[in-house]
Symmetry: C2
Subunit: 308 residues, 2 copies
């Protein structure tokens, strides 16, 4: 089978840091075009917008949308309408309700729609899921604390409505949580701290539960300096399981089980190629639905202004 001809839409930090090397390393898919208003890539056809690309007649099979979430729905709808397979960076959109029509459009056109959650491809995730499937789970504690100035330097969109603020990284934790736990999770309460000058929260505390009543607590902070924390600790009848470094490491009662280099995006593109080959889609809205619920049910507080 000839490789899938992919166009990348958006050529910002995540596209350069993660997508480009992952695409280059994946069998069965090749980058043939880029749509970006400001950036170009040597040796690859360039267009200012996805609409220009589609109008050009450039032969592509699929698009990967790496632009901010606020405009993702319009681009995805356009690409599906043009008969292209679509890969969505996380979060898959600015709202939950915009995803239903995209799922329907993918079904109607027989194209693949893949709403990626890159953290689910971290090496500790599937082993943790297997471990927890057979355990009595007592509690879960998530600590997701990073420095926005280091990881999202100058990114203004993240503070706009739909940009999610601290939930942009924390939705990764929720994507792991909802993958490794054996039962559905729902939100029971939240506190959200909004900077006076921003439309998205800079910190949050979430209380959740699963359907067996297991308490799940998450502490999220976007202003963590010094050591950065991306940990999920699960207390079970067979000891504590800890996923740390965003799922790169796994510990059982402090004993390391897994400590691997990050290969999340390679996993994403491998899965995208498989989905297209199988004529399937993969869209799980659960992590974004939990974030929407946190905004819905969360008690808001106003905190100090944030500037980069």
């Amino acid at each position: 089978m000839s490789p899938i001809r992919l166009a990348l839409v958006g050529l910002g930090k995540i596209a350069r840091d993660q997508h480009l090397p992952a695409i280059a390393a994946t069998e069965g898919i090749e980058l043939v075009a880029v749509a970006s208003r400001n950036a170009t890539l040597d040796g690859v056809a360039h267009f200012a917008t996805l609409a220009d690309l589609l109008a050009s007649g450039e032969a592509i099979d699929a698009v990967a949308l790496c632009t901010p979430p606020q405009g993702r729905h319009e681009l995805a709808a356009l690409a599906l309408k043009a008969g292209k397979h679509v890969l969505l960076e996380k979060p898959p959109g600015a709202t939950v309700s915009e995803l239903g029509p995209l799922i329907a459009a993918a079904q109607a056109t027989g194209r693949t729609l893949f709403a990626t959650w890159h953290s689910r491809f971290a090496p500790a995730v599937e082993p943790a899921r297997a471990f927890l499937a057979a355990r009595d789970i007592r509690s879960v504690a998530i600590e997701w604390k990073e420095d926005v100035r280091v990881w999202h330097p100058g990114q203004e969109w993240i503070w706009e409505p739909g940009g999610l603020g601290v939930f942009d990284p924390a939705i990764n934790a929720l994507s792991i949580l909802t993958r490794i736990l054996p039962r559905p999770v729902f939100l029971t309460g939240a506190n959200l701290a909004f900077p006076t000058n921003r439309a998205a929260p800079v910190a949050a505390e979430l209380d959740m539960a699963d359907t067996a009543g297991v308490p799940i607590r998450a502490e999220l902070d976007f202003l963590q300096t010094g050591p950065q924390t991306w940990d999920i600790r699960v207390e079970t009848d067979a000891g504590d399981l800890t996923l740390s470094s965003g799922g790169a490491k796994l510990f059982h009662d402090g004993r390391p089980l897994i400590d691997e280099r990050d290969a999340e995006y390679a996993g994403i593109y491998r899965h995208f190629v498989e989905l297209i080959a199988g004529g399937a889609s993969d869209v799980d809205v659960t992590p974004l639905a939990l974030v929407a619920d946190a905004f819905l049910l969360g008690r808001r507080s106003i905190v100090a202004p944030f500037e980069y």
Copy 2:
């Protein structure tokens, strides 16, 4: 078939104004118990809580939950676990994610779960749906403006997280909108005004679209004095269709088609009896998902404090 023996949980304003007369007027269902901390009803068994009722051995087949939305999930889960059919007042819960497990529990126990949207039983709704199915729709304008002091006197829960503020009435408009339009609706933007001293919005503007790109605009206000407005105007290729008075009246280009007395709750209980007889459930989370999206994507502003 002997009538369904129903217990009412919560005996506040909505239960007394609407549920009691509708139950009394509906064939096939009878009120046999009430669970309420403060209120009792002559001639009907009384319990302080649903848990007390279930523990008492009082013979009931179904419960109707008329308590505020914040505790609804726990009560519904308890009732389903005890093998009872469950009717949920709107909104069906404090979050969207809590409803999945309830749907699963109803399926697992073979019991009926009915998430009611009373405005969908207003007389103009089904005729409007039939009219619009065959029309080219140009735009939709919702105006939902009422005086919270008149319609929710002293209700503090409505201003708490999960109480929804102005979305408590406006979700009725969204429940009609998503019933009468032929295509799915999603949110594209929102502005939410929060009183300085309250956790829920007192006013909002919503921008939505359907999958054909029809623009849908909603203006919501909880401080409307004088005439109250609960109108949905749909501009079509065959003239303007207006549902007013919350769906009690229907106009085509200003000409009245329908003007009926409210019988929404009678419709609800008739449907509940049918669902139980057919072994079916009816849970549409769409209106609540749109509200969650409005909180997720909405730009917040802070306005004057609200006191009753």
